[in-house]
């Protein structure tokens, strides 16, 4: 199963903000965490992650600082701000609404589901 690009893009902000709400983190580890959370199903690229982090920084949802690791290397750590936490809460409310609505509609149309789902699961 592959998650479509649109869905990846739509869920990107709340996912990153959610991960940063767990604690300060840096790019590579964030990407690994996303992998872990989705069981490898979410196809994230660096081209998606870093510009997104920069945008969230510009909007004031996260802040960053450079910290030196071994030798000459520096690592950029991101931390969520209060504004970011508020945004996360808002996004979460919206997603809950969407998920609830989807659950509702799938429940009432439950007899259609196996027909679609069986071949898809067979492939995966």
């Amino acid at each position: 199963m592959r998650i479509t690009k649109d869905l990846v893009a739509a869920s990107a902000t709340p996912l990153v903000l959610g991960i940063l709400a767990e604690g300060e983190n840096y790019g590579y580890a964030i990407l690994r965490r996303i992998n872990e959370l989705s069981g490898g199903e979410l196809d994230w690229t660096e081209g998606l992650l870093y510009p997104l982090l920069h945008r969230l920084e510009r909007l004031g949802y996260v802040e960053s600082r450079w910290q030196s690791v071994t030798g000459e290397r520096r690592r950029k750590y991101y931390r969520i701000t209060t504004k970011g936490l508020a945004e996360l809460a808002e996004q979460r409310r919206q997603w809950d609404t969407v998920v609830d609505a989807l659950k509702e509609v799938w429940h009432s149309a439950g007899d259609l589901r196996p027909l679609k789902a069986v071949p898809a699961e067979g492939q995966a």
């Binding site: 840096y26 790019g27 590579y28 580890a29 990407l31 690229t45 660096e46 081209g47 998606l48 870093y50 510009p51 997104l52 920069h54 945008r55 510009r58 690791v69 290397r73 520096r74 690592r75 950029k76």
Partner: protein, 457 residues
């Protein structure tokens, strides 16, 4: 292979990758560092699961995806980076470059202030702008251009010998402007006022090319510099016009007339300062913005060609001769200057190795039609001179005409050879850069020899 070799190989590969990343305009130094950290994280993890360093590097790079795609994504978030910004005071990226450009800014400000102050110095000796236009006219180039030359010479760390030559030439200019007893309404004064700035501008050129004054490439750079400088000067002048307009209006509204301040201080000092600032801008933004002069050339070459061809047709159809008054002669001189400028600035931006194209043919048409028109003008003028005798004005204008005609005629020949694939493009470039001393020599002759030759008429 030992672990150590492996590690060194990995570092070399990462260094190479970093250079590729840094070449991307969309990616700043800090982005490159962040991505490198990511790459290293990925490599470390792959090594931990048993891959060799070089294998791990390949896999990690592959996973990151193509740089093109990555840059595109970055550009979408940071679209301002595609508009290269001219950073005035040091950027955050390079600290060394930052201090250097700050120091440059400081020296430029000093030179600009010096130029602005220079034009007010004569007033200390009772020579004012209002009452002595006969002094300010020929000396105009001597207020600002030495400062611009000083800035350029400082920037290129010119050798003492060159500095000596520059000082001597500016001193010679001062002599040419002031030594001869010229009446305030004499023609020679006007002729000197026009030609001395040209001569001094080429002295600035000497400071620009510094130690490498024989090099054709460096001279071409100076031609580019001249075009860009002129455009910046015009832009600054427009800004200055808006500034003085507002100043006039607002102060007038509270009953204070800023007339004298604007005409005696703001305009003269601002203009002198702008000469230096424009030069600094060209130097600072050289690699930042595309040159604008060649773009304008592309735009106007077809239009000028059309006008000149139409003019030739009109002359042929109507049978009217060209009425050569003094103004007309100057007008046609200026026309040749414009045509030469169009030629020069398209040369300056052209890839010398590109094959001839439609634009080159268009250019040939432009030059040939300008030549035809000029021959008509010359025929008229020689008739007039033999009839009425010469004046400094006519002789200077005629001399310029001949110089430009010679340049354009040979250029036309070279362009023709190039279009027919007989001569390389570089020949045209060399011809134009080699011709620069001719302009300088003529301008100096007019300034230094003409006044005594024509009895200070």
């Amino acid at each position: 292979m030992t672990d150590r070799d492996d590690q060194n190989g990995l570092e070399a590969q990462i260094a190479q990758w970093r250079r590729y990343v840094q070449r991307r305009r969309e990616l700043k130094q800090s982005d490159a560092e962040e991505l490198e950290d990511h790459l290293r994280g990925s490599v470390d993890e792959l090594i931990a699961v048993g891959l060799r360093a070089d294998e791990a590097f390949l896999v990690a790079v592959k996973r990151m995806g193509s740089l093109d795609e990555l840059s595109r994504e970055f550009a979408r978030e940071h679209s301002e980076r595609l508009w290269k910004q001219l950073v005035l005071t040091g950027d955050s990226d390079g600290r060394v470059a930052g201090t250097r450009s700050r120091r440059e800014l400081l020296v430029m400000v000093l030179c600009a202030v010096g130029a602005a102050a220079s034009i007010k110095v004569p007033e200390l000796f009772g020579v004012t702008l209002e009452e002595d236009p006969g002094f300010y006219g020929p000396n105009l180039g001597l207020f600002a251009l030495p400062w611009l030359a000083a800035f350029l010479a400082w920037r290129r760390q010119a050798r003492p010998a060159l500095i000596g030559v520059l000082v001597a030439l500016f001193a010679l200019g001062a002599v040419g402007a002031n030594a001869y007893p010229l009446e305030e309404d004499s023609q020679s004064l006007v002729v000197t006022s026009i030609h001395l700035p040209i001569a001094l501008w080429l002295v600035v050129g000497l400071a620009y090319v510094a130690d490498d004054w024989r090099s054709s490439r460096r001279r071409m750079d100076f031609i580019r510099f001249t075009g860009e400088w002129f455009i910046y000067l015009v832009l600054i002048a427009l800004g200055g016009g808006v500034l003085s307009g507002f100043m006039f209006g607002t102060f007038e509204a509270i009953g204070i007339s800023p007339d004298t301040f604007i005409s005696q201080w703001l305009l003269p000092c601002g203009a002198m300062g702008a000469v230096v600032v424009a030069g600094w801008l060209v130097e600072a933004k050289q690699s930042v913005v595309e040159n604008i002069a060649p773009v304008l050339t592309r735009l106007f070459t077809p239009l000028f060609t059309a006008v000149l061809v139409a003019f030739l047709i009109a002359v042929g159809r109507s049978g009217n001769g060209i009425n050569v008054e003094r103004e007309a002669l100057i007008l046609f001189d200026l026309l040749l200057v414009v045509v030469l400028g169009l030629l020069l600035y398209s040369i300056s931006a052209r890839d010398p190795l590109a094959p001839p194209g439609l634009f080159d043919k268009l250019q040939l048409a432009l030059v040939v039609s300008a030549l035809l028109i000029d021959v008509l003008v010359l025929l008229e003028i020689t008739g007039r001179i033999t009839e009425y005798g010469t004046t400094p004005n006519k002789t200077a204008a005629l001399g310029e005409n001949v110089i430009l005609l010679a340049n354009l005629a040979w250029s036309a020949w070279l362009v023709l050879g190039f279009v027919r694939r007989r001569t390389p493009f570089a020949a045209l470039e060399r011809w134009q850069t080699g011709y620069l001393p001719v302009y300088a020599a003529w301008a100096w002759i007019v300034v230094l020899v003409f006044p005594p030759l024509f009895n200070y008429m």
